[in-house]
Assembly symmetry: C2
Homo-oligomer: 383 residues x 2
């Protein structure tokens, strides 16, 4: 198994992020909460070629802290996109077959409109005046981008973790817009413990004296310390206990252990690094908005949730990882139980991996073979 | 099962915390690090009567955030001590039989000398000039209190979590000073994941702008927000996922869920309350010092660790709880493997409880009966 980022030659070559305005004041985004939002700009990348029938598009939905740069290399960068092991020529999502669209999520901070974007009403960042988000709003923006690109239906929509939750939501509300839905390491409903981790992360940000009720951008402060604590804590849930033990054990960061309150153990150095690195690429407001959407997601609470999907079936692949304790296999099984209960065509695989939740990002042979085989069947429909 | 604190009439009646100076400048505490400390005052309580032979003493070692008030009621309080369900007349640690000593740990903040105590050299709180602690230092202070009380040997030493770690340390270095050792929900060596949680809690405190390099007491600031975040996070690990789900599920704190970044879910209210309540009773510096001792504890790394104990065997009761994921049963099994490997008399029980790590504080029938039966056998030696 190789970890993402260790592939030396990203076979897609140099790629670029583009920006599209998918909602504007004449046609604003109408949100689940009743609010409207305009403009909505979306950062996206595409890989491969859209065929003449426009039937070979695959949409990638990213997880909490992802971005539009899923594969290939940005000029001047030394690391490829976050899912480069999955997407590319000859890879499980094969760009010789598929036209792949990856975009940054609504409310994100990597080019798509979010809480740190400028509110045209005030000329200042929205901050906490940005409307609260729902999983359905993420889907509406994906649909807006699809319209912009002239895609009426995706052959497949794919995502892990929060990405998988978007796929599920989309399949329930607009099943006619996709052939297949691939949902990895996701959940249809967070547990109390999941919400607890999410809540403490937000509290670390909001209690930072630099947070200033969300107005830190205009006040020249930053809740960076709180954001790094939130990220460090979240990272504990992204790896399995086994992975932590294998990777770090109790080894010292430098030579012999000599007790103090700094970085003594290697695992402390790792978390510190993760917390620090996150600051340069993520926005504290996006962290609040996006995690809250996950807390509230509970589509099967609606007894008619599956009605549209039953009328227009989608083929599902649901994958979990046996050491994932953030969204353990039971979360995936719950999705599968609902889908199978409605007699929808559903493949389910629990994959062995020692890495925990982050496994969906990694090059794990059984996982990649499962995705490849599933999409090979979907490709037969293209012919 | 009743939870601690729900017993309406604490049968020990009104009790009081006392303070003893167990080390002074003429006879300072010599610490594992080589540092010395004086004076060392210890806050303690006793329940029951010491017999004429001074042979019926039981020492209680508390966990990370405990104190000397283990049982009975303080005048004016409405809640009994933290282990009142375990200690009292007719209870598993029966004060009709045993003379029970409970004290606040070295480095604590409930009456025993700790980092917020006044350094006699400077007239100001020690803060981060307080010497770093080791599990062995906790034991030396327990031994100092025993001398002060005229107790040469305890019939039993008992503790859960960090308390159990103190019991283990003491049994390894001074086995002749105890008849039995009762170790609940403890560990002989933290995993990388355990250390990770510990490290993030400390970072939440130290990164709070009120921390001021530990000098907050003299600068009029406080890292209260960081401490509350640390406590909220730690609380997630004290309960099982099952307990969180049973207790809170996804229920709303007030009426219907209506999304915002405040307290929407009941589980958020619980954590908020735990974080807030902790501020009135705990010191951020103690939190740093005590958690660090746990990270470093690894007695079996010394191949001669068991030599003294083999020469002077102690009877062990080791208890774990099946839903404890902070110190899962494997942590207890590791202790048992070492003890049994040295042919020491060891009873081990994994108790079923849905509550996770905090189970050792709760009134769980099978657990209490196990403790009672073990101590009944120990009481036979008194006759």
């Amino acid at each position: 198994m190789r970890k993402n980022g260790q592939v030396s030659t990203p076979s897609l070559g140099i790629v670029e992020t583009q920006i599209a305005t998918v909602f504007d004041r004449s046609d604003p985004l109408r949100m689940r909460s009743g609010a409207t939002l305009a403009p909505v700009e979306v950062a996206y990348e595409t890989y491969g070629e859209l065929n003449a029938q426009r039937s070979n598009a695959v949409c990638i939905c990213h997880a909490l802290t992802g971005d539009a740069h899923a594969a290939g290399l940005h000029a001047g960068d030394d690391r490829p996109g976050w899912w480069d092991n999955m997407i590319g020529p000859g890879k499980p999502i094969d760009t010789d077959v598929w036209f792949v669209v990856a975009s940054n999520i609504l409310g994100g901070c990597q080019g798509t409109t979010g809480p740190s974007s400028i509110d045209p009403e005030t000329g200042e960042p929205y901050a906490l005046d940005f409307p609260l988000l729902d999983m359905a709003d993420f889907v509406e923006v994906h649909r807006g981008l699809a319209r912009h690109l002239g895609i009426e239906r995706f052959a497949a929509v794919v995502g892990g973790s929060l990405g998988g939750m978007q796929v599920l939501q989309w399949s329930l509300t607009h099943p006619e817009e996709m052939g297949s839905a691939l949902i990895f390491a996701a959940s249809s409903r967070l547990t109390a413990q999941n919400i607890a981790f999410s809540a403490v992360g937000r509290q670390a940000i909001m209690r930072d004296s630099g947070f200033n009720e969300g107005k830190f951008l205009t006040r020249g402060t930053t809740p960076a310390k709180g954001l790094s604590v939130a990220r460090m804590m979240a990272h504990i849930t992204y790896l399995s206990e086994e992975a932590f033990q294998e990777k770090f054990g109790r080894s010292a960061q430098a030579g012999e252990l000599s007790p103090n309150f700094g970085i003594d153990f290697a695992v402390e150095s790792y978390l510190e690094h993760q917390g620090q690195r996150f600051l340069s690429r993520f926005d504290p407001l996006s962290y609040l908005y996006l995690t809250r959407v996950m807390d509230y997601f509970d589509p099967f609470a609606d007894e008619h949730a599956l009605d549209a999907l039953v009328a227009s079936p989608v083929r599902f692949l649901v994958v979990s990882f046996d050491t994932d304790w953030r969204f353990a296999t039971e979360h995936s099984r719950r999705i599968v139980r609902h889908l199978e209960g409605a007699r929808l065509p559903t493949s389910f695989r629990e994959i062995h991996s020692s890495w925990g939740h982050d496994s969906f990002l990694l090059e794990i042979e059984q996982y990649h073979e499962t995705v490849r085989a599933f999409l090979d069947r979907a490709a037969e429909d293209l012919a």
